[in-house]
């Protein structure tokens, strides 16, 4: 009763229409929701659409580089006669363009060796990026090993891990010969048996179940 009086807002003597009371309150015949409820949902839906129109492109913009693969890049690093079977020769080339010296990386290149069942006509280019956390390793001639200065990773002549924290052999680069020059191409990673797989970041295992735990990224090139 008090509620009814409140709704008249103090006005007196309005003609009483004998309207049927809604049951449940607020709902009228044939309605599944109140008018107010419907408008609330509508306004929130429009607000959500407007929000999505702003947020989705922004997030896509930030996330898109994950799915973008750059152009394949080949760079000549010297005539074939520069490289021998017995030892590595250090070459420096640009891996990432547009950032000057910071985009350069180092590889150790030699000819394929029959001792390791490799094609004698092929060239092996081993990356100097340690597969523990990405520090630059160097090839130590006297030991015949690659040694990392940061945390003591050691790799043998072929780049297989023989000591320290690294999780797989050193990465390699694709190579080809054009006009008597050795050219270096995209990076790829290898399993512990030196089978090529797509390039992985340092610290990620390769081969077997690890291929699922560290899935290949769309931004890398297929292995040779």
């Amino acid at each position: 009763m008090a509620d009814d009086q409140d709704k008249t807002n103090g006005a007196q003597g309005s003609p009483q229409v004998n309207r049927q009371k809604p049951n449940p309150p607020g709902y009228f015949e044939g309605e599944s929701m109140t008018r107010r409820h419907a408008f609330t949902i509508g306004a929130q839906a429009i607000g959500g659409l407007a929000g999505a129109a702003i947020v989705l492109p922004a997030v896509g913009f930030a996330v898109a580089p994950i799915f973008h693969r750059g152009k394949e890049r080949w760079e000549a690093v010297g005539p074939t006669s520069d490289f021998v079977v017995e030892t590595y020769r250090q070459v420096v080339f640009t891996e990432t363009e547009g950032i000057g010296d910071a985009g350069k990386t180092t590889a150790y290149v030699r000819r394929g060796s029959q001792e390791f069942d490799e094609d004698p006509k092929a060239f092996i280019a081993v990356s100097n990026r340690c597969v523990h956390l990405g520090c630059p390793v160097r090839f130590v001639e006297a030991a015949g090993n690659f040694i990392c200065p940061c945390h003591g990773g050691v790799y043998d002549f072929q780049g297989k891990r023989i000591g320290g924290p690294p999780v797989r052999p050193l990465d390699q680069f694709q190579t080809r010969i054009r006009g008597g020059q050795v050219e270096i191409g995209p990076r790829f990673s290898v399993t512990s048996q030196l089978e090529p797989v797509r390039a992985r970041d340092p610290g990620e295992f390769t081969g077997g179940i690890w291929e699922f735990l560290y899935p290949p990224r769309p931004s890398t090139f297929p292995p040779p």
Partner: protein, 305 residues
Amino acid sequence: MSKLDKLDKLIPAPLRKPAKPGSNGSQGEAPSDLKSSPPERPGDTARLLDQAKEAPVDALAWIDQRTAASGFLTGMLFRKVPKGTNWFYTLGSATLFAFIVQAVTGVFLAMFYTPSATQAYASIAHINNDVFLGALVHGMHKWGSSVMVILIFLHMGRTFFFGAYKYPRELNWVIGVVLLILTMTMAFTGYLLPFDQRSFWASVVGININGTGPVIGPYLSDFLRAGPELGATTLSRFYAIHMLLLPGAIIALIGAHMYLVVKLGTTAPPWLRADKPKIAAPVSQLDAGVEGNGGTPGNGAGRRA
């Protein structure tokens, strides 16, 4: 007039500590006979001087009338703190101060810094070698970041060892942990910006550590680098996160953090025991957990060790 009263006059009226009820301040009685001793009328100079004196208070009053800020400010500035509050309680404010130093010096560094892979190192060298006091501002930002990380951990330790994270302050602990993570992200993204050998290789290693997380790790490191290799977009990405994204988030969360501190109050140190009830309560009531009438409510004083 006592020293304290003089000090009180300096504080604008809206911010003055409210008088205790019952004490009517210094308002004396009205003169008994206005006809025989009329109040002296002030001269023009004196009146102008009075008006000038009142001007700042009037300005504050004008603002206060439109914002009702004085109620909030007196509530915040004269809030109760528990007994035993000591220097350890300043670690949070110290962290806030370190953040303000980072924000101010960062703004001035941004005036000279170029977030480009080919020019970043040269612009930092320019700040350090050529700009007036540039090395000092850069140094404050560089060492201040370590100071802030150290202070935030000390503040966290204080909160933990004083048990200040317990009910009802759990949410403030959670906000604090998020602030800690944001501060560490701030330190990580800021480290790359000078783009020298140390910062380059440290970021390479840091991103690769992110990449070792199973399943999403490889994508996370691609996201951080904006590609398969650390490049020009990595630097601008870190710069944007360091300069625009994180400061906004940190400022917003510091606001929430401090609101809850003021709202909930601080805890007494754990070695402080509750006041003995002034009115002796029967032992049986104490055993039943019924407090005596004189016990200080709240501030951790209601509980006995």
